[in-house]
């Protein structure tokens, strides 16, 4: 067979090869994104995503969506502008969550015995689905950034609340009031993570009384919009094809 001949001899064979290629690329994409996004998320979201006693109504709500929208924006740019595929955000988040669950279950629980109910990851799927759908319907980076980015930030807290709320039930402990999440952090000893490292309930957002989470979510959503733009451009740049002039 010469280089100019086709590798396939029929349409059926071409379809079969194409599908095989689809699964190979999707499989590779999934695990490459899993690795990259997971490392990025651990370095930037870190403890806010590791422990329930870091998942507060201020900084967790603010930080996690902002650092989380990065890879979805970049992968969306690649998959949408080159293939018109609207699942960039979801594939990222599924990869991240699979990596996180493997890490939490094998490392946190299997090796160091922290209960899974103390170190489960944050939920990002609802925001990712909406982000993908907005891109598909709008075919616009700007609208996806503004509407989708806003939805990504705003859906984060309520999307996690069914899992977090039971841990915010108060308990009286030796004369002090704590939440069950605080108590998990106190009971399950983290030798290298002293209490003062926690960055929770810090800031000057006191005007809205106890209703801090919605304000934090709006702020997070606003910054998510900006970060979406930035990382969308990263994605477009990274997925571009360049040719060099031959001699």
């Amino acid at each position: 067979m010469s280089a100019s001949q086709s590798a396939v001899r029929s349409r059926a064979e071409a379809i079969k090869v194409s599908r095989t290629f689809d699964w190979l690329i999707l499989f590779t994409l999934f695990f490459v994104v899993l690795g990259g996004y997971h490392v990025h998320f651990m370095l930037t979201g870190g403890d806010w995503d590791f422990w329930t006693d870091w998942k507060d109504r201020r900084l967790w709500v603010t930080v996690v969506p902002i650092v989380g929208i990065t890879f979805p924006a970049a992968v969306q740019a690649c998959l949408w502008w080159r293939y018109r595929l609207p699942f960039g955000a979801v594939v990222c988040v599924l990869g991240l969550l699979l990596g996180e669950w493997i890490n939490r279950y094998i490392n946190f629980w299997g090796w160091t015995y922290f209960p899974v109910s103390f170190c489960f990851p944050s939920q990002l799927v609802p925001g990712a689905i909406v982000l993908d759908v907005v891109l598909m319907l709008s075919n616009s980076m700007t609208i996806t950034a503004v509407i989708g980015g806003m939805a990504w930030g705003l859906l984060f807290y309520p999307g996690n609340w069914p899992v977090i709320a039971p841990l915010h039930v108060p308990v009286e402990y030796n004369g002090m009031m704590m939440t069950l999440a605080d108590l998990q952090g106190y009971h399950y000893v983290r030798t290298g993570t002293p209490e003062y490292i926690r960055m929770v309930e810090k800031g000057t957002l006191r005007t809205f009384g106890k209703d801090v989470a919605p304000v934090s979510a709006f702020f997070s959503a606003f910054v998510s919009i900006l970060i979406y733009f930035l990382w969308h451009f990263f994605g477009r740049w990274f997925s571009g094809t360049s040719f060099t002039q031959g001699s």
């Binding site: 194409s18 689809d22 999707l26 507060d56 109504r57 080159r82 293939y83 018109r84 595929l85 609207p86 594939v91 988040v93 599924l94 969550l97 669950w101 090796w111 160091t112 015995y113 922290f114 209960p115 899974v116 109910s117 489960f120 990851p121 799927v125 609802p126 990712a128 689905i129 759908v133 598909m136 859906l155 309520p158 609340w161 069914p162 899992v163 709320a165 039971p166 915010h168 039930v169 108060p170 308990v171 030796n174 004369g175 002090m176 009031m177 704590m178 069950l180 605080d182 106190y186 009971h187 000893v189 983290r190 030798t191 002293p194 209490e195 003062y196 929770v200 810090k202 106890k210 801090v212």
Partner: protein, 414 residues
Amino acid sequence: MKLIKDKVAKLSFVALLVTVTAAMFYAPTASAHGEKSQAAFMRMRTIHWFDLNWSKDTVAVNDTMTISGKFHVFAGWPETVDKPEISFLNIGIPGPVFIRQGSWIGGQLVPRSVTLELGDTYEFKVLLKARRPGDWHVHTMMNVKGGGPIIGPGKWVTVTGSMGSFVNPVTTLLGDTINLETYNLSNTYFWHAFWYALGLAWLGYWARKPIFVPRHIAMEAGKADSLITAGDKKVGVGFAVATMAIVAFTMSSTNAAYPVTTPLQAGLLRGMKPIELPARTVNVKVEDATYRVPGRAMQMTLTITNNGDSSIRLGEFNTAGVRFLDAKVHVDETGYPDDLLAEEGLTVSDNSPIAPGTSRTVQVTASDAAWEVYRLADLIYDPDSRFAGLLFFFDEAGNRQMVMVDAPLIPSFI
């Protein structure tokens, strides 16, 4: 060339095999917490732990034990370490093999960080409940913001039983008693599985059709608009609406199920109550101090003045958790860890009782292999070559008096 490649491949394979085999046959337990690698001055000139007591050597799963004692916050705290204005009484164990059921400083529960004052001495207690069977090295520990973990003495404790039987009952302010070990676990698994399945469904919807090659060809051919059908858009709207509806509904139903929730609790506890020590009647002046490297011995020349009404003798020198005792004056009966106890490690040139109102200059030698084993000798390489420790004097009635010493140290290499 091929021969070389084959040889490299073969040797690489053999090397891999040897490595894997070695790891299988020799994988020793990592049983230390880096206490020996922590800079000597950090252990000698920050927190001085003493009168420590581990209530049990062996404890069954679900049973409790305590670590209690005192710690002195060294007044000459090194400049290179942040002051203990934000500190946390921790415990040095390999993961939550125990749970910390309570920790107190001066009788106050300290689940949060605290402010400690230089020069003060505090009483502390940590209540631990055994969770995972094994032999664990249990250390006292104080984390200092800007200073890091300052690890104290450790003792081996054996936990027996099965982790499967461990329970951690807690009663909430609403009157429900839950097992914190497993609480909320099935709820967590359910919601993560649910959303993961919905995400997979969205991915599956697109993956059921050709994905990359035909779509890329269509994009290149300018037929991008044909790739998203009206049906796709309807499905997309369905996913988005369903997602938002589920989020709204579950938020509402969760609020109904848990009407009382509070934010995470945080804050700094100030005003820790120190021990009120009796007025000091013994004064000690360090005339000079040398560390003799070959002999693993520290020698101090001390001028001791007894201003009390009873004669005194020097019984113990304690630094970085290592206790050097003069067995003729003081014998340890607390079961202190052997590796940290030099029962006859303290020699005083004249340790006859110092009468009230008199002074005496003596040569004090603290010698033991612990200087090397615990890498305290490394303090001669510190940027601020000083030593510090606690001296314990005993009067005729057996009463004890603690005196802090802090002075430059000159190494001797011959």
